[in-house]
Amino acid sequence: MDEKPGWRIGWRNLGRNRRRTWITASGLALGYVAVVVMSGLAGGLVAEMVDNGTGILTGQLQVHSAEYLPDRNLYATVGGRDGVDVETLVRAVASVPEVAAATPRVFGAGLVSTGSATVAGVLMGVDVELEPAVSRILTTLRDGELPRAGHNEILIGSEMANQVAAGPGDTVVLVAPAGDGSLGNDLFVVSGVFETTLTDLDLAWAIAPIDALQTLLALPAGRIHEVAARVDDPWAASDAARAVNAALTEVLGDDLDAEARAWTEFRPEMVDYARLTESMQWVLLVIIFGMAIFGVANTLLMSSFERRKEFALLLALGARPSMIAGSVLAEAVSLAALSLLAGVALAVPILVWWHTAPPDVSWLYGGFTMSGGLMRPILRVEYPWSMLGLTGVSLFFTATVAAVLPAIRSARIPPADTLSGR
């Protein structure tokens, strides 16, 4: 007798006791869904952290002079003391395919004062046209409007606004040491107030148009401190940095004092967390399928026990034991296939739903920061491609392993004894 009938008998057996099949398959399918969705949620958590940690302010890629960090030295402008052609520089950075957009920035440290109340802060000069394509800080505007290029207007954080008691329309004095050694000072009108809910930013940051800040800091138009860029796939940022460095050398020469770095370099703790999350998924997989094995094993033992008289008959008729074993295995594999189908059918819509329209769970917990990134209280999911496959494989593996014992026992049935009822 050839093997094939064994397999057909196997999977057909699933149909014999639909309820049992259904219960077991649902157990496996739910296990699959659980693992896959939880992996998706974990991936979403990481993505959220990276997205917010880099997307609100810093950008996924930054270009600085080699001397600029960690002190944020006012004089260490990109391209050295003579500065650069900012437009060419920004264009060169944006020319790299992985980079979606780039924008120039100037930084100064100074005081924001209404006379009686003074707050020390970071003054950031941005290009109001290009900045929104790279960071979201300008979208966190709460009151008033964004500052206009060419005007002495400033956007301040909500906490800073509280401390100096200033709102849209009020005038403040900005005082900051300037690039020529003097004390830069000028009047700025508060055009608006922003609120990121990150206290560091809301208390100590003030944003002005880049030209206005350069004037305050006695820096010519060619001297900037940073070019920030958006890279849509954050995990491609390292490659993008390499490409940007190459582009800069090509366009602006070898000895340009400018270096591009990806967020993975200046926020290594986020990379750590991502790696940790990934490894935790294995733990999850083991636990869930460990449990599932029991369900499958039980089912198969039951069903093979039920069918022992059939098997005995087949053996008596000359079937090889391996056929019998094969039949049990076939049943297991078919069960796995069925479960996988059900699992995928259930998991995919959930993943798609939570990926495109993540539900809000702010009733459970407010936002908080993790590794410096603000986490929104939503169920965000990133497609766990590798997990989808891996879990499927685990499912088959589980089913197969569960089938081993029943298969062996079935193959070893003593035909005569069984048939005679013992």
Binding site: T118, A120, A176, L183, D186
Partner: protein
């Protein structure tokens, strides 16, 4: 644990750029235009010939102090990134009051700093505004110069903080000098490991001061010169500070005018005075 990170971050950033020049300004000229802070009481009389090293150094240290003073100063700073020259008027009353006003360069003329008690105010003529500086925002370097807060704010005198001995007593380049070694007292709030001071024997004028860290490495040198009589005192009208690590950089302070024990009262150090144009 999130510290009140905001204030720390902002402070350190503000600090890093040598901010608070203004606050520093006031603190500098806390009393008289010496780079040592106001002392209580008058200048000391010239010490007798058998004076101890401490007495000699004390005299030199308090050379430029008085109950009140007023003067005009020229300050020149050269750093890696820029060079600047400023002319200022300075007045002080004890340790409580000080007023500094910039005369030149023209674009900064009228900028003034007032210290009154524990409050520090800045007047900015360009925007015609007065702002109060919280003294918690302190800077180590004022106006980007090479003088630190330590040089300026301290209420104590050298003799209080240091044990003073003579290291060399003899001739240098044909001039009879003493070279003193100042070792900080164990609990004195000073950062230096030691200070070496060269003083001329005949007129007790300081020639130079060298500041070392605790390992003995020279950190910076202060040179005195242009000895002139203001009123009835002989003082070094010029002082130049050069950091050891960046020898191309320096800060030089030159007194063009100096009067001691003038007729000043707390009223002369008011906010209104801060905004006055002269």
């Amino acid at each position: 644990m999130k510290l009140p990170l905001c204030s720390v971050t902002a402070n350190r950033i503000a600090f890093r750029s040598g901010l608070l020049g203004s606050a520093g300004l006031a603190l500098v000229f806390l009393t008289a235009p010496t780079l040592a802070p106001a002392a209580r009481g008058q200048a000391v009389d010239r010490p007798p010939p058998d004076a101890t090293p401490s007495e000699i150094v004390d005299y030199v240290d308090r050379l430029m102090r008085g109950e009140s003073s007023t003067g005009e100063v020229l300050m020149e700073v050269l750093t890696e990134n820029w060079g600047r020259e400023m002319r200022m008027t300075v007045s002080s009353l004890g340790t409580e009051y000080a007023l500094v006003r910039i005369l030149e360069p023209k674009k900064d003329a009228g900028t003034a700093t007032l210290k009154s008690g524990t409050e520090i105010w800045n007047y900015l003529p360009k925007v015609d505004r007065t702002i109060k500086i919280p003294a918690s925002l302190m800077s180590a370097s004022w106006m980007g110069s090479h003088f630190t807060n330590d040089d300026l704010v301290k209420e104590s005198r050298l003799v209080e903080d240091y044990d003073i001995t003579i290291e060399y007593d003899g001739s240098r380049d044909g001039v009879d000098v003493w070279e003193f070694v100042l070792i900080p007292r164990p609990e004195a709030p000073v950062v230096w490991g030691s200070i070496r001071y060269q003083v001329r024997k005949d007129d007790l004028m300081p020639v130079w001061a060298r500041y070392h860290d605790e390992d003995g490495s020279l950190m910076r040198t202060l040179t005195f010169g242009d000895f002139r009589t203001f009123g009835d005192r002989l003082v070094p009208a010029t002082m130049r500070m050069v950091p050891e690590d960046d020898p191309g950089e320096y800060t030089e302070v030159r007194y063009e005018n100096l009067e001691f024990d003038v007729d000043l009262a707390p009223d002369d150090f008011s906010l209104r005075q801060l905004r006055a144009r002269n």
